[in-house]
């Protein structure tokens, strides 16, 4: 057995190690100081550009309440819960008057949920296929992988609202444009996350499937998919929450859902109808968030026990 306490040069190994370590620490220190200087330079620049000063913030505060003042419903307590009167109208100051278009809103909100659901399903399907092509360990060819990654970057790099604008010209005003726009963006974002999950999966089952004579599709279906399924499901549910918010926004450019109504009441009335719609949207998003969080936790909890 070789004598480990001596290296060929005859130097003390501890001194050698300490010198190497000190050098490493010095190198890292220089890099860290450089980064800190850069960070503060950019911070100062952005404050200057945004004109971000405490006085400006303080001046603006009353105006926020001004706006809320104009869109707040004005209730009068004596008619608050009154129903329709003889002419079939709700008296001004009642909840019924405030939510005169309640069923219209509900129909549109239901449309919004369905849009988000369809877009999530389509986007997830696309993302699964693209992620196997994009992940470095499973891609059938490096060139295909590069193309898939660039394509995913494009899909998630362009905002939904921009896709929606273009698609409204292509397929016309309505939910289809919104669904397609959100699908593209969700596929891009999920595809990236999925491909990272795939890159962390064990390749041993893939070797096993290769050795039984399985094709690339069979290697993915049997070797990878069972390993990544819980993660994929969890990410897809989380994306559904985001897509609900997104489908409430794409309506602003005519791509269906409650967003169209919100945009309409803001620009045409700017009265208590704005808060009526907003309140429903906030309630919907909160409810979906809570439900999906529960679903995800149930799923993760179940998987953790296995």
């Amino acid at each position: 057995m070789a004598d480990l306490s001596q290296n060929p040069g005859g130097q003390d190994p501890v001194a050698l190690f300490e010198r190497h370590r000190a050098q490493l620490i010095r190198d890292r220190m220089t890099a860290n100081i450089l980064l800190a200087v850069l960070f503060f330079a950019f911070l100062a620049w952005s404050i200057w550009i945004a004109n971000f000063t405490p006085e400006r913030l303080a001046q603006g505060v009353p105006r926020i309440f001004e706006y809320f003042g104009t869109v707040m419903p004005s209730f009068s307590m004596d008619v608050l819960l009154d129903g329709r009167n003889a002419e079939g109208r709700f008296p001004p100051g009642s909840i019924g008057f405030w939510y005169n278009d309640f069923w219209k809103y509900i129909t549109l909100i239901w449309e919004t949920i369905l849009m988000a659901l369809t877009a999530t399903l389509l986007g997830t399907g696309l993302a699964v296929i693209l992620s196997f092509l994009a992940a470095r360990n499973t891609t059938p060819h490096p060139v295909v992988g590069t193309f898939a990654r660039r394509f995913l970057e494009f899909c998630r790099g362009v905002p939904e609202i921009l896709f929606a604008l273009v698609l409204v010209f292509w397929v016309g005003i309505g939910p289809l444009a919104g669904v397609l726009a959100i699908t593209i963006h969700a596929a891009g974002a999920l595809g990236k996350l999925f491909s990272e999950v795939v890159e962390n999966a064990s390749m041993r089952p893939v070797d096993g499937m290769k050795a039984v004579g399985g094709s690339w599709f069979e290697q993915m279906r049997y070797g990878i998919l069972p390993q990544v399924m819980p993660n994929f499901t969890s990410y897809a549910l989380w994306r559904f929450e985001i897509n609900v918010r997104a489908s409430a926004v794409v309506g602003f450019v005519g791509a269906g859902g409650i967003g169209a109504e919100l945009s309409h009441v803001i620009s045409f009335f700017s009265d208590d109808r704005v808060t009526a719609v907003l309140l429903l949207v906030v309630l919907l998003v909160t409810a979906i968030d809570l439900l999906s969080e529960r679903a995800r936790h149930a799923l993760i909890g179940k998987e953790a026990l296995k």
Binding site: R204, P205, D207, G208, M209, K210, A211, V212, G213, G214, S215, F217, E218, R221, Y222, G223, P226, Q227, M229, K306
Partner: protein, 273 residues
């Protein structure tokens, strides 16, 4: 008959397997021994092309294996099943599906993507599992099994491929002596009862001597020994293992329980097909 004609494998700047020429007749049980890094695994994985050979040729009954592509290559892989050191099963699928995945080559795109297996395939898989004494866990999730059980499931998967050759890459290196014996007994039974050619890499000298008709010794990518267990004297073994000889011999000492039984119990029920 499997013929190697100057088969070689080169990774960037190291030659893992120097031109190897040998012939393995049908029905032989061959053990490849050597220290770690000698090129045993590379040689074995070149047979089913999990590692691409960099040069030379390999023929199986006159068919050029090294030239196969696409579907023909997958057909060849289906004909020569492989058992791995780490089992390479799909842990999150049940045992039965893992075994049935050995039939995937015979499936079309739709049925394999949908995971549809016929009743006949299910029966075949259960018989293969039963032959290895594992039918009772058929519906259990695979990653709940012990290492020895997983290796037996992996052998069942290999059996439902109806292979002509069985490759085993260090099949017992991750197992305790008792499970190692069960697995080696099963491989020997497959060799003797079904007449399959079995080629396995083994780390321990003792196991190779006990189970194999023929032993091939490798050192630094070169085949330095090719003969029967009797011809493998201690002196020859020491040459194969070089500096690791002491380790290989002492490992043989600790696995003295590894004696093949007269009638391997794992192999009584036959796969009928």
């Amino acid at each position: 008959m499997l013929e190697f004609k100057g088969l070689t494998k080169q990774f960037r700047d190291t030659i893992a397997v120097k031109p190897a020429t040998l012939t393995i007749p049908d029905g032989q049980m061959v053990g490849i021994i050597g220290r770690s890094g000698a090129g045993k695994s590379t040689l074995l994985r070149m047979i089913n092309r999990l590692n691409e050979p960099s040069g030379g040729q390999m023929l199986f009954h006159g068919r050029d294996i090294t030239a196969l592509k696409g579907r023909e290559l997958r057909q060849w892989r289906n004909e020569c099943a492989m058992v791995f050191q780490q089992f390479n099963l799909v842990g999150r699928l049940d045992v039965l599906t893992n075994v049935m995945s050995g039939r995937l080559f015979h499936h079309g795109f739709i049925s394999s993507m949908a995971g549809m297996f016929s009743a006949k395939e299910r029966a075949f898989a259960i018989r293969a599992l039963d032959r290895l004494g594992m039918a009772h866990v058929a519906l259990q999730q695979t990653d709940t099994l012990s290492g020895g059980q997983m290796q037996r499931v992996a052998i069942a998967r290999a059996l439902v491929q109806e292979p002509r050759i069985m490759l085993a890459d260090e099949p017992i290196a991750s197992l305790d002596p008792l499970n190692a014996k069960v697995v080696m007994d099963a491989l020997r039974a497959i060799n003797q009862e079904d007449g399959l050619t079995v080629v396995c890499n083994l780390h321990t000298l003792d196991t190779a001597r006990q189970y194999c008709d023929r032993i091939i010794g490798m050192q630094d990518g070169v085949i330095v020994f090719d003969g029967t267990a009797k011809q493998l004297t201690d002196k020859a073994a020491r040459e194969i293992y070089g500096a690791e000889a002491e380790e290989a011999f002492s490992e043989a000492m600790t696995s003295t329980t590894l004696r093949p039984s007269d009638k391997p119990e794992a192999a009584t029920p036959r796969v009928v097909n």
